[in-house]
Subunit: 170 residues, 2 copies
DNA sequence: CCAAGTAGCTTAGATGCTAAGCGAAATAGG
DNA sequence: CCTATTTCGCTTAGCATCTAAGCTACTTGG
């Protein structure tokens, strides 16, 4: 239960990939949901907004493709986020069908308060590590990000080829 | 966009806490949701099941406290997970009101297939790191888990003291 | 035994997602 | 230039799931 009783070599690697990463995943999902509630957003809205912050402006159909939502759901997400002033919509000058969704960065005092406090706390995550250790951590996180998106893509394509196989033991 | 062009000391720490952790968070949420869909579960059901796997058997009210769900929502979650054979319910011999929710570990071939493939892929996450680097990574993940649960607890208590302040610009 | 607290379930209402289909705009082919 | 196809975002109907409130059953303390 404490965090400092590992001994072996490959054991530690296994602990990271099997146990720690899984626990971090669950904790992250809970955290993400709590932040969404704190901001008055649903989890889906928060997820979409995060993607807009990370990747910059994009269209609704891109957002649907990344999140796996239908375009109908994205319409609702965009309408709520726009009403709450978290994004703006502009028509694409080169394609009249598209609308460019642009995240609003001049955050409200509400958001500054929440994330300011979080950011201060987050400094403790990297306290005491030297450059070499930080580089290893950064590399691990980068690989984890790639891993997640890679597996999401694989699961989506599997889902397509699996089509419909429902009512399997009702 | 590539993952190997950092130079400074504290810059790297900032990149980890501000940028990389956030991107990992978003990727993790998408991943978690995709796994849930792959298993035929909703995101909430999957989150609860993960908690049961991690922490072992618990009661419904504990699950509600950890996830922030109402007890009514937990009732629905438990009913669905039980029907899908992901958990069993036993009455608590010492308290007739409680029901002990026990996760089922003899997973279906479905689950073995999904997570077997994922586990093989995950081995690449730690490839090439030495013991020292792995220890740093493990420590960082442990801190991140603690961080997430700590901030969730803080946000929940803030939400209580904030009570009702709705309809703020409809 | 009775009062108060706790655990889980039920109900009503609201929200948000999917699936299917629409019109408008861009592209391809003749 | 003109039509056919594709793509984009929106609308609608239906459904799943969450919250809030109240209920019953059980436990605990006087």
């Amino acid at each position: 239960m404490n965090g400092s009783m590992w001994d072996g070599r490959d054991d530690l690697a296994d602990v990271i990939t099997s146990d720690l990463s899984r626990r971090l995943s669950t904790a992250t999902v809970l955290f993400h949901h709590a932040v969404a509630e704190r901001l008055g957003l649903g989890p889906t809205d928060h997820k979409c907004l995060d993607l807009l912050y990370e990747r910059g402006a994009m269209t609704g159909s891109e957002l649907a493709a990344i999140t796996g939502l239908t375009t109908g759901a994205v319409t609702g997400v965009v309408a709520r986020l726009e009403k709450a002033r978290h994004l703006t919509r502009e028509p694409d000058p080169r394609d009249g069908r598209k609308q460019i969704l642009r995240p609003v960065f001049d955050a409200s005092p509400e958001i500054v308060e929440v994330f300011g406090s979080i950011r201060d706390d987050a400094a403790g995550l990297v306290a005491g590590f030297d450059d070499h250790e930080l580089a290893a951590i950064a590399e691990f996180i980068s690989r984890s990000i790639d891993f997640s998106y890679r597996r999401v893509a694989i699961m989506r394509t599997e889902a397509i080829s699996r089509v419909k196989e429902k009512d399997h033991d009702r």
